[in-house]
């Protein structure tokens, strides 16, 4: 039964994906309810559900999630805008690239979270610091991909533009930007993914105010495994939703600009 050699007809195999999760939850349920372990960390699935309901109905969840999302999106927009500007400058101007490129490449090698202590000293622990950090997280992939896209426009396109006597402005608008769009979208998509990751990190490390990351840290500090599990599920769901949203937008934009989706 190899995926490589045999071209098997499509059969009903969707159920297979559900086997593992269902068995896993069943074992968890049994382990928790039969008292296989008296560790306080082994909470039952019902308890997690009850905690989730408490969080949602008491409004704590909504406060946390809206604070996190607001941070995430504002950081994402600021970072992406700055990233597009910087990426375009790097992509269009050789001089600017020589000036700034090497410094930027060194800068992006520094592990993102290593900036948090410095940011916390310069900007405090509040929302400003978090948004600055998130913008930084979103900025890097956008700059890299925008610059790459503009640098890798097929030379044939540029030659055609020259033959037709396009002005520099026409070349930029009519040839280079459309050719670079897929790469730019990839950058923005990555920025959305990274900024969610960075939101969680920022909330762990700059603990103040509401946020889904703070919910998790609270749960961890008070040994409330149910709260931690609930938070994890929410983080996963939001990450997934952002992912799907970004893919959709990307595809729509590509269709709008007449680019064939890969």
């Amino acid at each position: 039964m190899s995926s490589l050699a045999s071209t098997q007809p499509a059969r009903f195999t969707h159920y297979r994906g559900w086997v593992l999760p269902v068995v896993g939850v069943a074992i968890w349920w049994l382990a928790a309810n039969q008292g296989w372990s008296d560790s306080g960390l082994l909470v039952s699935p019902q308890k997690v559900a009850v905690t989730a309901w408490d969080q949602v109905s008491s409004g704590q969840f909504w406060r946390a999630i809206s604070a996190s999302l607001a941070r995430n999106l504002s950081g994402f927009f600021i970072g992406t805008t700055l990233g597009l500007i910087l990426g375009c400058l790097l992509g269009f101007s050789r001089l600017f690239e020589r000036l700034v490129g090497p410094s930027f490449n060194t800068f992006k090698q520094i592990s993102l979270f290593a900036w948090i202590p410095l940011i916390s000293v310069w900007f405090g622990l509040g929302d400003v610091a978090k948004v600055v950090f998130l913008s930084l997280a979103a900025l890097v992939p956008v700059v890299v991909n925008t610059c790459d896209g503009l640098r890798n426009v097929p030379p044939a396109f540029l030659e055609v533009a020259k033959v037709y006597g396009f002005s520099r402005w026409q070349t930029v608008i009519g040839v280079m930007l459309p050719a670079a769009l897929p790469s730019i979208f990839t950058g923005i998509y990555l920025a959305l993914v990274y900024s969610w990751l960075a939101t969680i990190g920022a909330e762990y490390l700059l603990v103040s105010g509401d946020g889904i990351g703070n919910t998790l840290i609270d749960g961890s500090e008070h040994f409330m495994m149910d709260l931690v599990l609930f938070g994890m599920v929410i983080i996963g769901l939001v990450g997934w939703a952002l992912n799907v949203l970004a893919r959709r937008l990307e595809r729509r934009m590509q269709r709008l600009y007449g680019i064939n989706p890969r």
């Binding site: 490589l4 020589r98 979270f113």
Partner: protein, 303 residues
């Protein structure tokens, strides 16, 4: 008779065609040729090269100058921005007292062990899923669902399960490395060139031969890309884990300096973290280029 036809044929050959003499084309209004500058203005090669190699240093030097001026003139207090000389001195102290080596080796050991565990598991998981459609059907949906939770999301969970010891770091770093390695390995199996498989089948390769002689060799490069990506992720999460929970390591140095408000220590440690990450990444890049020699570039999107 035969002779006569032959001469007749000879005579028929090569009828001279009168070509009209080439006339000059009528003159038309001359448009000046558009100037297309393909090469930059000639400049002396030596000067161009000198300017080119000097340009990248301009910005860092300017920033350093501003930093120096800012602290010298007292625009910012030393607490917020320590002078560069101070950071340099701290770095020197770290090296001479051996603190740097102690913490860096602790970090490197963690990242290596975690990375080896994670990438080993990742490659084998990817292999199993790539080779067997059945296993892929069972595992992949669960795997994809779990991947949606980033390493940071697992952290409080792991903190409760494993405590603040070394296992926590190994588990989280291994998890960070595992995800990209598994996905890249699986992708490598899905992207085996169809033509090679057809050739293999035409030669009557057995299932095992197809795997060992075609699939695995063509999967080497993508798997290596996955390993590189995995290492980057492992290094990133090492810093986070150490920032949050550790008593030694480079991330701990940063957190410690932050708590004591010794920003020179923070900055020195950040510089070390960046340098080590850069060196390791360059090493991977070098090996990747060696592997890629003589192969057609493959394009893939690794989100």
């Amino acid at each position: 008779m035969a002779r006569a036809t032959a001469t007749a044929l000879d005579r028929q050959q090569a009828p001279v065609k009168q070509l009209a003499p080439v006339e000059r084309l009528p003159s038309f209004p001359v448009r000046p040729a558009r100037r297309v500058s393909l090469t930059p203005r000639p400049r002396s090669a030596w000067r161009t090269r000198a300017v080119n190699s000097a340009l990248p240093w301009l910005l860092p030097l300017a920033l350093l100058g501003l930093w120096y001026l800012g602290t010298e003139r007292g625009w910012l207090s030393e607490q917020v921005l320590p002078p560069p000389a101070y950071v340099y001195q701290t770095l020197g102290d770290l090296v001479s007292t051996g603190d740097l080596w102690l913490n860096a080796s602790a970090s490197l050991q963690r990242v290596l062990v975690g990375f080896l565990i994670g990438s080993g598991l990742g490659v084998s998981l990817g292999l199993v899923m790539g080779l067997s459609k059945t296993v892929e059907d069972y595992l992949l949906p669960t795997f994809n669902a779990l991947v949606q939770i980033p390493v940071l999301g697992w952290m409080p969970f792991a903190l409760l399960l494993f405590g603040i010891g070394e296992p926590l770091k190994y588990v989280l770093i291994a998890h960070a490395a595992l995800v990209p390695v598994t996905l890249c390995t699986l992708q490598a199996f899905h992207q085996v060139p169809k033509r090679l498989l057809e050739v293999g089948r035409a030669y009557g390769f057995s299932q095992r031969q197809i795997v060992t002689d075609i699939v695995l060799p063509s999967a080497v490069v993508p798997i290596f890309t996955g390993l590189r990506l995995g290492f980057t992720k492992a290094w990133l999460s090492l810093v986070v884990v150490e920032l949050l929970a550790s008593s030694e390591g480079l991330g701990y140095l940063i957190a410690y300096g932050r708590q004591l408000f010794q920003l020179d220590l923070v900055m020195a440690a950040v510089v070390v973290v960046g340098t080590v990450g850069l060196l390791i990444d360059r090493g991977f890049e070098y090996v990747e280029r060696r592997l890629n020699k003589g192969r057609a570039p493959t394009s893939g999107r690794l989100a």
